[in-house]
């Protein structure tokens, strides 16, 4: 019986995509190695190891692609089947937003909302517990690091923290 989650030469084959990304990366590493100067075998240059590592990457990526085409591989959708795929997506969005907010807003103003979002959006913790944790933990950590260990945390445009 055919398994609908295992495909061969299809764009939805996740193994094929993995191999293609590997091949592209290998190509880029080979190009970078060439650009940096290969040198000779007596006196290898800065790009020598990069160049040959790039070749190896292409070889291994090609092996993955061949195996994906001949033996087939799971579809991209099946990798996220029966899991709460939206939860890591929310977490990634929160972390990306935090990365952008950290420097302009500073540690305290960016980490308190991050904690609150994580506590409420993934597996919701009740508000009466989420708010104290979200406020007290980053503040406590900030106090320990800044006041006790004298580590300078980003204070942002508003100079808070």
């Amino acid at each position: 019986m055919n398994d609908p989650t295992n495909v061969k030469l299809r764009l939805s084959n996740s193994e094929l995509w993995g191999g293609l990304i590997g091949l592209a990366l290998g190509g880029f590493v080979i190009w970078s190695g060439l650009k940096l100067r290969l040198g000779t075998i007596n006196d290898p240059g800065s790009g020598y190891v990069l160049f040959y590592t790039g070749i190896l990457m292409c070889v291994f990526a090609s092996a993955i692609i061949v195996s994906a085409i001949t033996e087939g591989g799971p579809t991209l959708a099946s990798r996220w089947e029966n899991v709460r795929w939206s939860k890591p997506l929310v977490l990634i969005a929160c972390l990306t937003a935090f990365a952008f907010a950290l420097e302009p807003l500073g540690f305290l103003l960016s980490s308190i909302p991050l904690m609150l979002l994580l506590l409420r959006l993934i597996d919701p913790v009740r508000w009466t517990l989420a708010i104290p944790i979200a406020v007290l933990v980053p503040s406590g950590m900030w106090w320990v690091l800044k006041r006790l260990l004298l580590i300078q945390l980003p204070s942002g445009l508003f100079g808070i923290g």
Binding site: L36, P44, L50, G54, P88, L114, I133, L149
Partner: protein
């Protein structure tokens, strides 16, 4: 006699109050992360890597080592009581350990795991004391060709033992080498793959890469599923195993200890492989193999001893050759480097206080673990009930702070988040991060040794084959690379393949 004098010197260092405190913190955190499913020793060590900066090198490394062997102890508690391995090396303990707990024998299972671990840890330390100085004096004769070949072997063994397809693991190792080469070339000082960014001139830091790939990615994966925990609720009594239990376990403990120690020394091996190997050995030697899987105490005693002995054995290649045999040791190497120290053949003679201090502290740590694990078992059970939806935001916050504090640089936080996302997608597509991390650490050393040996031999590639140690390593690596192509060996590889986090 020399060894005894050195050991006494080591105890002098390890028994300093500050080192005792760091040792206690290390084994306590190790047990904690071993007990809590979802956080392994790698995540915890990467989280605490920046903390090692605050004290002396001895204190920092004593703490890091404590986390490693502490997690080996703690992992068994979760396996036995919850049937979820606290860390990868305790996967096998679930099989018989949880069955014993279901039959009301959680106490003896926990007891034999702790006593077996203690015996194995003690043996591994004595062997480490005896073997390491001898191996270090041998390693002085190693040239760049030997170092290069040994590192190649280490990487190939790890890729061989990694779950999933071998080309994927090898591709990950190559990516790790490339990432490790980012920054200034150590020989020509030419910037490589920096894309004009000043932050990349010194290369990418180990801390953000490891925290991203293991810490953040692990949390992302865990949020996909609601973690269900079936904690054994009955009161845990009779932690001391009975006479019959001791009789049944003595052999498995002894065999597991020796097997684990030797497998721990091998590059790429470690605690996970040894626990699986010990379980398979005990099942094969047993007169009643049908009891395995239904609560056989040998199935707990052997693997638990093996993984602790392997944790001790893994220190040998790092301390004597400066080559980390697995990812955990790569992190420990990172801790050494942070303090400007280079483990290797000269460390034992040039820095005896550090080497013998660490070894002695490991013994003290083993005693602390026995005290922590048995009388405080109730506390660890309570911890198992801590909800993951509160735990994971805290882990995220600690990783962010850990990364920031290690360099005082916001760029590293971006790197960590990026590697966290990359690590999540890598795992979803079946690419394990362990070979990448080991190659990331070994990459610059491999390049350096390769270029040095080529310059010294005037471009003669035969130099790698003419030197016996180098030739043996390369032949062994080649055999492992070819092995998965043979169907019978491929099956064997799948049996011993280890999960990430080794």
């Amino acid at each position: 006699m020399d060894t005894l004098v050195n050991v006494a010197h080591g105890f002098g260092v390890a028994l300093l109050p500050v080192n005792l405190l760091y040792c206690f913190i290390g084994v306590f955190i190790g047990t904690l992360v071993g007990v809590l499913p979802g956080i392994g020793p790698i995540s915890a060590m990467s989280l605490l890597l920046p903390v090692t900066l605050s004290g002396t090198p001895e204190s920092g490394i004593i703490m890091m080592a404590g986390i490693y062997y502490g997690s080996m102890y703690g992992g068994s508690t979760t396996s036995i009581l919850v049937n979820i391995p606290g860390e990868a090396a305790s996967v096998v303990t679930c099989i018989d350990g949880h069955q014993m707990a279901k039959q009301g024998r959680a106490g003896p299972a926990l007891g034999i795991a702790a006593f077996g671990s203690f015996a194995a840890g003690t043996f591994a330390l004595v062997a480490l004391m005896l073997v390491a100085p001898k191996l270090a004096s041998l390693a002085i004769a190693f040239g760049p060709a030997e170092y290069f070949s040994l590192m190649v072997l280490g990487l190939v063994v790890l890729t061989f033992l990694t779950q999933g397809s071998m080309p994927k693991a090898l591709l990950m190792a190559c990516i790790g080498v490339v990432l490790g080469l980012i920054g200034l070339d150590s020989i020509t000082a030419q910037p490589r793959l920096t894309f004009g960014r000043m932050e990349l001139i010194d290369g990418i830091g180990l801390v953000p890469v490891v925290m991203g790939l293991f810490g953040v990615a692990e949390v992302l994966l865990n949020t996909e599923q609601a973690i269900k925990r079936d904690v054994i609720n009955t009161r845990i009594t009779h932690l001391l195993p009975s006479k019959e239990d001791w009789k049944a376990s003595a052999g498995p403990v002894g065999r597991g200890t020796i097997l684990g120690f030797f497998l721990g020394i091998l590059p790429g091996g470690g605690a996970v492989v040894s626990s699986f190997a010990s379980y398979a050995l005990e099942k094969r030697l047993s007169k009643t193999p049908e009891r395995f899987g239904h609560g056989a105490i040998e199935g707990v005693a052997g693997p638990e001893s093996a993984n602790n002995a392997a944790a001790g054995g893994a220190f040998i290649p790092l301390m004597t050759l400066g080559i980390p045999p697995n990812v955990v040791m790569a992190l420990l190497l990172g801790a050494f480097v942070i303090h400007g120290l280079q483990p290797g053949p000269l460390m034992i003679t040039q820095n005896p206080g550090l080497f013998w201090g660490i070894v002695a502290s490991m013994y003290i740590g083993n005693v602390m673990l026995l005290i922590l694990n048995l009388p405080m078992i109730g506390m660890w059970v309570q911890l198992l009930k801590l909800p993951y939806n509160i735990l994971f935001p805290l882990i995220i916050l600690f990783t962010i702070l850990g990364v920031y504090c290690s360099s005082n640089n916001v760029f590293d936080v971006y790197v960590m988040i990026a590697f966290g996302i990359i690590g999540y997608f890598m795992r979803k597509l079946g690419y394990e991060p362990a070979p990448l991390v080991l190659a990331f650490v070994l990459g610059p050393m491999m390049e350096n040794n390769l270029r040095k040996s080529l310059i010294l031999s005037q471009g003669d590639l035969w130099t790698f084959v003419q030197r016996p140690i180098s030739a043996v390593c390369l032949v062994f690596a080649l055999v492992l690379l070819i092995a998965p192509l043979l169907p019978s060996l491929r099956k064997k590889r799948e049996l011993v393949a280890l999960d990430e986090g080794a």
